[in-house]
Amino acid sequence: MDRLDKPPQHVTARAAELGIPPEGVVFAAAVDLSLDGGFREVWLVAGSDLLLILDGERRRVISVKSLGDVKADGFVGNGALIAKVDGEPEVLCRYTNACARKMHIAARVLGKLAAGDPVTDEDFRDDKHVQACPKCGRLFPDPQRQICPPCFDKRALSLRVFSFFKGYRLHAAAIICLMLAGSALNLFGPYMNGKILFDEVLTPGGRYEGRVVEVVLLMAALQLAAIGLNVMHARINAAMTARVIAGLKARVFEAMQRLSLGFFTSKQTGGLMVRVNSDANNLQYFFHDGFPFFVVNLMQIIGILSAMLALNWRLALLIFIPVPILIAIMRWAFPKLWTLYSRRHRKLRSMTAVVNDALTGVRVVKAFGREEQEIQRFGARSYDVYSVSVQTGYFSSALWPAMTLVMNAGGLIVWSVGGWDVLEDRITLGTLITFTLYLGMLYGPLEFMTHIVDWWTNCINSAQRIFELLDSVPDVLEKPDPVRLSPIRGDVELRNVTFGYEPNKPVLKDVSFTAKAGEVIGIVGKSGAGKSTIANLISRLYDVEKGAVLIDGVDVRDAAIGDLRRQIGMVLQDTYLFHGTIAENIAYAKPGATPEEIIRAAKAANAHDFIMKLPDGYETVIGGRGRDLSGGERQRISIARAILHDPRILILDEATASVDTETERLVQEALERLVQGRTTFSIAHRLSTLRNADRLVVIEDGKVVEMGTHEELDAKQGVYYRLRTKQEEALAIRGVAND
């Protein structure tokens, strides 16, 4: 049974020598830093009596009983396992952040061993533990996605991308046929132009002598036909691709909606929006332009080469003189060019960021009189863009002519050798002309081919990001066959809840308390103590690590998520109102609400009056941040929304912060109406807002330190009492008279 890490033979042997036989190993762990800060493999082996620290030749043997206060401390870029050995704090070992999770577990277990407590497998459970790719042994860069990018099956990915078009086989077949036909027609062009025209028409004695007009008309007809075929296949392709991509975007958006909150906070929302739009667009461009181009060009190249070889294999082979040189130049120069382009893109983004920043923060810029400095900041970034643009310009302006030169060299070679051949009557002039025309047609596709690899890689990258979204399993999953909780009475219990947004950084530690239906519970504590986290856990936006949240005695993990969300409402400090009318916002939770219901809710929230002052009344459009409304007005709309939602359980998160006193009164009144008959959790760090709470829970450093009514806690003269008196003093100092 390997706990934490499997030690190699020599470590097990050493451990046995020093007093821990293989069967007595409680756990073994490898860390990657020596005490002096060098990258080395250091092994910890723990038995029930001894702890061994093995660093190469050096070893340390510590009696487990002499350990106290074992902690895994995190610093900058590293951590250390620190414990009191016989009362004296010491560093047992150091490690980089990669071993942090392991060491937290080790610390816990050592603590247990020191206290003589039994150690079970449960102690080593690390739900979010990092795995390594079975193929190459590298750690999964993103522990939540078991994907090892280097070992990624690119073929499977490619096939998957193409599978989007599965339903369009007929379309694809039609397109391919049309492309083939178009290519073939294109190939006729130079043949007509050269051989037929010159040899047979314009030369005396030719087969079609004198029939210039006919031949020219035929050429024109072929051209038109080729164009016609192109148009046809392009149209089919456009429609097909657009439809596939639209479907894909819908699936991506759907997937995003399915995901749990944790996903959105870990990746920036902006990046996600990029995925839905830009990545899906990348795919579209690829299938709309890139791939068809590729197929057509490939056909062209094959067709042209075959035609040339058929016409005159000697001259055809001459082609291959400049072509390798061209390819060599392209393979050397193009990566450099792409590096320059991507650098320019980065600098441009950086410059745009400055512009964005300065313009969004224009109030601050002006208030501090820093316009000049912002101009200089912009100037510096702009200079970077300029300097890399110049580099790029120089490079590309040297590159294209060089390539043209080589291409023309090919033509010159063919003309000279071919011309000689014509003079020597080995080939006809028409053949030569056809040949050079074919040659000219060759370079375009060749040049395109160099782009296709990049295009394809982009496409694959985009596809991979999209698949990541489509494949993401939400953290918070509904159990199959969940318990229906409708209607909820409103009894809420937190039982031994431990939770942290990041592994091993618990925000709530073993928190327990209950709320009976209809009670108003105030949750008090300093900022960051874990209050808002409780709100997130009750509505199951995140799942607890340990313990459980129970509603009406049912663990929320067993309940149907829909029922939960419908009956739990939140009024947050950061009011988010959607772009839409006020009425739409208020009726968000109840789309079929009648105007009367909306007005009632707004009246109860003390919002009706200010809404009526707006020219469009309830149909006034408000923006994402409700830009045109004041904070208090947004609060009240948010409360109206909650009132209309009519949830059994209500969470108020700092709902009255940052408004003026008059508005606060209105909001407070609205809230009082709102909380009637609902189990309410009111989270605040301003105690005045919790006047009406039935009971209070005081959270400090993630733990519940006090619980009870106002009177009980006052009598205790503990944390709550101190907080309250401090706040009252602060208000008194300011000498605030409520006006």
Binding site: G37, F39, V85, P150, R343, Q376, G379, Y383
Partner: protein
Amino acid sequence: MAVNEQYAPHGRDAAGRGGDNGVVGAGAGGSGDKLATYVDIEFLTPENAVFSKTPGGFLRLVKDGATYERVSLFRTFPFTLGDRYLSVRDLDGKEIGIIKDMDVFPPEAVEAFKAELARRYFTPTITRIKSMKEEFGYAYWEVETDSGPRRFTVRDMQQNLFLISPVHVMIVDIDGNRFDIPDYTALDPVSRKYIDDLL
């Protein structure tokens, strides 16, 4: 093509609004006195603070009769001020004072400071980049550092490459480990190219 003088870059742009004055000036002069009326910084000197090293290697402080068995040192300006203006805090994180300059303390104290700082801040310096491969949004690095060879993975390379000065680069890997290159232009050409291509 002459470069327009107005667009010449100023230093410390990437790290923030450094500008000409610099956030960290050498003595802000007049305004400093006014600031002192609000709240004073308690500077620790050998006169009012005695530091020593515990047997376990930690930093102990005796100040005004009070003994702090274990204090930690935090760099206030890790990139520009290095070891000057160190914040001294107790185990609960409360600040006891600030050390302006380590060197005024006796050598044993300085040794204890350095040990504590070496423990808290671990940012190996990259001496050579053996290879770097970017794939699907992850970058796989293999480097040599002053602490030995190391392999690490960086996610979202662009977000995790920090330009602390026009030549000072810091890379943060997927676990939050940091790697430092004080002057990337001083690296060997092969290594330097990896960084050039990222900037």
